[in-house]
């Protein structure tokens, strides 16, 4: 259904739940999900507040197309202030949870305050109640999921929960739904746990309704599905190889950040790539990949379902990990693989299972471990701090151990849970942290892909590839090829990607559709579903307004243009090999033009004219 126009306000301090009407004037400006929830957040919290205090709020939010027949229309986001960055956090997840929440009749849930003891929220259509989570606290996401299914005696129950890492204060803890889908980045799970909220369980059976023009919506969504099916990326590449299709490609173009971004190519990439996941292994003749999987309503199905080799050291004594579970995505394989120098596919799959089981963002986890490994090799960290473990690049044992200790917060796991920035500061090597605004980089080295340098530097949630995926154009030639080593034109490209992405993230759709869909494919689906006029122009306007609003939040939180930068390593140390050899990230050539395009001052601050133009709150 398009908006249900109702949401829940859950005050955890008071233990109360209220039903409120959605602000439709805001929905007209911000559409839903990422945009609309950020509008609520900026209205309701002081951006300067401590992200882990009861003053922060956490909004679980769907988009108008969540739960509909639109392909990939099952997304939800979690919006709050991030404890990792201090900036606005907005993490998006698929699976089945978001669509179920919508089917229960709710556009979003605003959580405020902090419960005195652990609780979870149970929603059965219109009935919502807070229940004790004493028995769930201290359990992993997977254990909590099993207990909740048993308690409610309902196999159809959809569960989103935090794991032990979040309870222990790991600053990049995720919220995991449906066992292996996650609102992964920026520590949204840490915020949830700080409120003593262990889980949200939902059962929604009210189904689809409130579509503005149903026949037109059917036509528009069917046309969209045909485009996805015919496109070689969304119709063949992603179902067959998942996002891991990229491992060899990005390595070949010399943009594969390796060993804490000291290098830009990884000699072991082919051993951990999507192609390797299809090869039968020696022990049992089965490949790592069992099958692909999809989120609610998705006709792409890029998800990976994998098994680990039972004879592998990580699981040989742990039969509980012998079954099928969520397999490696490219970002996870990169962060725990090439960034840590590890080329052991089974070790990566095991660490990935643990990230799902206890809710850690595998990007931040892998990149933080990579920084720790560099400090260990430089002698800033020793076995004294790690409790005996040799944190050497390339060590699969160290990777598996690290995932285990971050999951529980034990020993050095608590330090690794700080994230790369705080860890490097603690051990006196701040320059080794590969982060922007405190968030760890994803899998594209900006020296070999200049647009991504600008993307990371200006991303509203810290280093992130999902805010403007110029990789698509710079390397993959989708929709058009641009030169990855060129800076000219990249400011325009980044802005266009940022705005379009913000619009898609506000609709309830998955960003992977945009490998095949342009806004011409998306706007008609939104327009047929939602009241009001939703043209291509309006969608792009919404996207830009969302971007400006997030920037406004960050500025009010004290994060200004001085933080639109990259680590010194990327600005001064040239790439060591590949096509970008000798090249640094030339941010200074792109940033001024980008500010101008955004209508900001030369120091990156918001102008009054821009604030007024987008009708942003003061």
């Amino acid at each position: 259904m398009a908006w249900t126009k109702k949401y829940l306000r859950v005050n955890l301090t008071e233990g109360t739940i209220k039903v409120e009407d959605l602000n439709m004037a805001w929905a007209n400006e911000y559409l839903g999900q990422r945009g609309l929830a950020t509008r609520y957040l900026i209205d309701e919290i002081d951006p300067k507040c401590d992200a882990l205090s009861p003053e922060n709020k956490m909004i679980m939010t769907t988009g108008p197309l969540t739960g509909t027949m639109a392909s990939t229309g099952g997304r939800y986001s979690v919006v709050c202030k991030s404890p990792l960055t201090g900036a606005v956090a907005c993490s998006n997840s698929g699976g089945l949870f978001g669509a179920e929440l919508k089917s229960a009749g709710w556009d979003m849930i605003i959580f405020e305050g902090k419960s005195a003891s652990p609780v979870y929220l149970s929603i059965q259509n219109e009935k919502a109640e807070l229940l004790s989570a004493e028995a769930l606290w201290g359990k992993s996401v997977w254990e909590a999921d099993a207990i909740l299914h048993k308690t409610h005696q309902d196999p159809q129950l959809k569960v989103a929960a935090v794991g032990r890492s979040a309870e222990q204060g790991c600053l990049y803890a995720a919220i995991v739904n449906d066992m292996h889908r996650a609102a992964g980045r920026s520590g949204v799970g840490t915020v949830m746990a700080s409120k003593n909220l262990k889980a949200v369980v939902v059962r929604g059976t009210r189904g689809v309704g409130n579509i503005k023009d149903m026949p037109r919506f059917m036509d528009a969504t069917n046309a969209g599905k045909a485009v996805l099916a015919e496109n070689p990326v969304t119709g063949q590449g992603l179902p067959a190889l998942g996002t891991q299709v990229l491992m060899n490609v990005i390595n070949e173009v010399g943009a594969m950040p390796t060993r804490n971004m000291r290098e830009t190519q990884f000699e072991g990439a082919h051993k951990i790539a999507g192609e390797a996941m299809l090869e039968p292994r020696k022990s049992d003749g089965k490949p790592n990949l069992t099958r692909n999987g999809g989120c609610f309503g998705c006709t792409i199905a890029c998800g990976r379902i994998s098994t680990i080799d039972r004879t592998h050291f990580s699981v040989q004594d742990k039969p509980e990990y012998w079954g099928n579970s969520g397999g490696l995505e490219y970002e996870a394989a990169w962060a725990m693989g090439s960034d840590c120098g590890v080329d052991d596919l089974d070790a990566l799959t095991y660490a990935n299972f643990l990230c799902n089981e206890d809710g850690m963002d595998p990007i931040s986890f892998g990149a933080t471990l990579a920084a720790a490994m560099e400090m260990f090799e430089d002698g800033d960290l020793t076995t004294e701090q790690t409790g005996g473990m040799e944190l050497k690049f390339g060590s699969a044992e160290a990777l598996c151990w690290a995932a285990e200790v971050v999951a529980t917060g034990e020993g050095f796991g608590a330090d690794l849970g700080l994230g790369s920035k705080r860890l490097c500061e603690k051990y006196g090597r701040p320059e080794l942290s590969m982060t922007v605004k405190g968030q760890e980089f994803p899998a594209y080295d900006p020296r070999g892909m200049q647009g991504m340098g600008l993307t990371y530097a200006t991303s509203n949630r810290g280093a992130c590839h999902l805010r403007s995926y110029t990789v698509s154009s710079e390397v993959l030639g989708v929709p058009v090829k641009t030169d990855p080593l060129e800076t000219d034109g990249k400011a325009d490209l980044v802005k266009a990607f940022q705005d379009a992405t913000a619009a898609v993230d506000s609709a309830g759709l998955c960003i992977f559709t945009t490998f095949a869909w342009s806004m011409e494919d998306i706007a008609p689906q939104v327009d047929a579903a939602c009241e009001g006029e939703w043209s291509v122009e309006k969608m792009l306007e919404v996207g830009e307004r969302v971007w400006q609003l997030e920037r406004q939040f960050n500025q009010a939180a004290g994060i200004g243009g001085d933080q639109d930068t990259l680590p010194k390593r990327l600005l001064t140390e040239g790439a060591g090999s590949g096509p970008a050899q000798g090249k640094v990230a030339e941010l200074d050539k792109m940033l001024p033009q980008y500010y101008e395009l955004r209508g900001w001052n030369t120091d990156g601050s918001m102008t009054d004219a821009t604030r007024q133009k987008w009708n942003l709150p003061a």
């Binding site: 496109n231 070689p232 990326v233 063949q236 590449g237 992603l238 067959a240 190889l241 998942g242 996002t243 891991q244 299709v245 990229l246 060899n248 490609v249 070949e252 173009v253 010399g254 082919h270 051993k271 790539a273 999507g274 192609e275 390797a276 299809l278 090869e279 890029c302 995505e329 490219y330 970002e331 590839h465 999902l466 995926y469 990789v471 698509s472 390397v475 993959l476 030639g477 989708v478 090829k481 030169d483 960003i511 992977f512 490998f515 590949g578 096509p579």
Partner: protein, 78 residues
């Protein structure tokens, strides 16, 4: 590679690379044809990691000894 990995000789799929001998003056088009890659699937064509535009793929002399040629269908991920 990727969804065209089956065009590689058996046993070479994981390594994803093989050494080939070519005549002097060979073009990228010749190599694409030799491996029976359908034209619409030869989307990303790289020599030593650098993208070669479709119109340049018929030029001879672009490839030297020890160069690495990579061919991918349209791919994307995240």
């Amino acid at each position: 590679m990727a969804t065209i990995a089956h065009l590689m000789p058996p046993g070479e799929k994981i390594a994803n690379r093989i050494d080939i001998e070519v005549d002097e003056g060979v073009t990228l088009e010749d190599i694409i044809t030799r491996f029976k890659v359908a034209p619409e699937l030869a989307h990303l064509v790289l020599v030593n990691g650098v993208y070669i535009e479709p119109h340049e793929r018929e030029t001879s002399g672009l490839i030297k000894e020890n160069d690495v040629v990579a061919i991918w269908p349209p791919v994307a991920g995240g």
